[in-house]
């Protein structure tokens, strides 16, 4: 958390330094500051490098954090050029406030059932999380996968017999990989980041899906290259990077 805040403070300074008049006429447009959801960090770091390679002379800096926190910062006038959120509603909020151009959905993420290799608990569907004989893990409600699991249980009316609420997706997945839990709920991208140490069973029922969306930020006018970055996210190169990190197409 502190890290993200620190980078949110430092990144604008970097931008200010890089865009001094000494850099030439186009200087102020050569560096983009992108505010993005923490769950995008791995994919966006890679995407940023690909963008810089495709557009020589352009730099992309990121500030990662919780979507809600970043949205608040954008509304408070933080100098972001692009905002990419894990929840489309935050982007809508910014566009409605006149601070963003348009809502561009670019990826989806979905909760899946993660099980230890070989599925020792013989889990087959979401209904199995009610089985008291199985050790069931979710994320704690302060992390996105925990909130999403709770609303998924509520939306399908499942009374899950949860045995632990882990502090984050990584610790949940490491306990699944170690075989200490029988089943856990995590995002596809969390499982992907765990490097295939667990098996995945798709959740077919309910509302376990989120849509990621981005917008060009107006402050007080949009950066000239911001729309190119947003287009790059939705383009072939951007989409293939996102898919590789476990995201689904919008």
């Amino acid at each position: 958390m502190a890290n993200h805040r620190a980078s949110a403070v430092v990144a604008p300074l970097v931008v200010a330094l890089l865009s001094t008049p000494g850099c030439g006429a186009g200087g102020s447009e050569s560096t983009l500051l992108v505010f993005a959801a923490a769950s995008l960090s791995d994919a966006f770091e890679e995407l940023g490098e690909a963008f810089e390679t495709a557009h020589p002379g352009m730099d992309v800096d990121f500030s990662f954090g919780s979507s809600a926190g970043l949205a608040q910062q954008v509304l408070d006038g933080a100098p972001a050029d692009v905002f990419a959120s894990a929840d489309v509603s935050h982007v809508v909020e910014i566009v409605d406030a006149g601070t963003g151009q348009e809502v561009v959905p670019f990826a989806r993420n979905r909760l899946v059932l993660a099980v230890p290799r070989g599925n020792p608990g013989r889990v087959s569907s979401l209904a199995d999380v009610t089985d008291e004989a199985l050790l069931v893990g979710v994320c704690a409600p302060h992390v996105p996968c925990g909130r999403a699991a709770r609303s998924l249980f509520a939306s399908v009316g499942v009374a899950a017999s949860v045995d632990t609420e882990e502090i984050d997706a990584r610790s949940l997945l490491s306990k699944l990989a170690a075989g200490e839990l029988d089943v856990g709920l995590a995002y596809r991208t969390d499982v992907q980041a765990a490097g295939g140490t667990v098996d995945v069973i798709d959740v077919t029922a309910g509302d376990g899906e989120i849509t990621y969306a981005a917008t060009v930020v107006i402050h007080p006018r949009p950066a000239a290259t911001a729309d190119r970055f947003v287009a790059f996210i939705g383009g072939t190169a951007g989409q293939s990077i996102l898919r590789r990190h476990g995201f689904l197409t919008p």
């Binding site: 958390m1 050790l135 893990g137 704690a140 409600p141 302060h142 992390v143 949860v162 045995d163 632990t164 609420e165 882990e166 502090i167 610790s171 306990k175 170690a178 075989g179 200490e180 839990l181």
Partner: protein, 254 residues
Amino acid sequence: MLLVPLAVAGVGFLLLPFAGLLQRTPWSSLPSLVTEPVVVDALRLSVVTATLATVTSLVLGVPLAWVLARMTFPGRALLRALVTLPMVLPPVVGGTALLFALGRRGLVGGPLERATGILLPFSTAGVVVATTFVAMPFLVITLEAALRGADRRYEDAAATLGARRLTVFRRVTLPLVAPSLLAGTVLCWARALGEFGATITFAGNLQGRTQTMPLAVFLALESDREAAIALSLVLIALSLVVLVALRDRWSPFP
């Protein structure tokens, strides 16, 4: 005389963070925050598990301290060092090691589950195991130092008069080191009460079953800072009450 100014500086250093905490305390919402079910559950679980961990530590740790202090055998220095390992090990690593040993696929945990159906991780018993692992060395080290410093002539005299080893231990040795035994017990209990890393790694986190106060504080810090401060105050108040009460009652140095 330099001692007093330095002592004052020491007290200031130790108390400054608490002053910071008090200054940020949401006094008006405190009563409603500390009576929430999640707080009440965590507080009860913390007191119960810390006390059980202390009892377990006494049962296993007092004989261990005696063996380390009174018996001579090859490898005693190494054993003493090994006993203090949990004190230097990062608790999260300790918790992971406990999983490797007592988890479902662990060295002992696997056979234990197959034989008895008992599964320690993600259970209240698992919290007691994790906190005992981290807290017991504090009791052992304190008591062992006292035993080594105690005058052995009383024990020798009792033995000469025909008392058996256990009787000597119970009637002579333990009363001799009573203040240190109490200090060690209190230290052990306090460490158990504040235990976080090994607990969350080995026992997980579930309200009412494994979510102790430190876990509740940690999770609240991520979402609701005021609640986290209120929880910390409860934890501090509880420890202060117990520590002060015991000190006034038992210490030979009031």
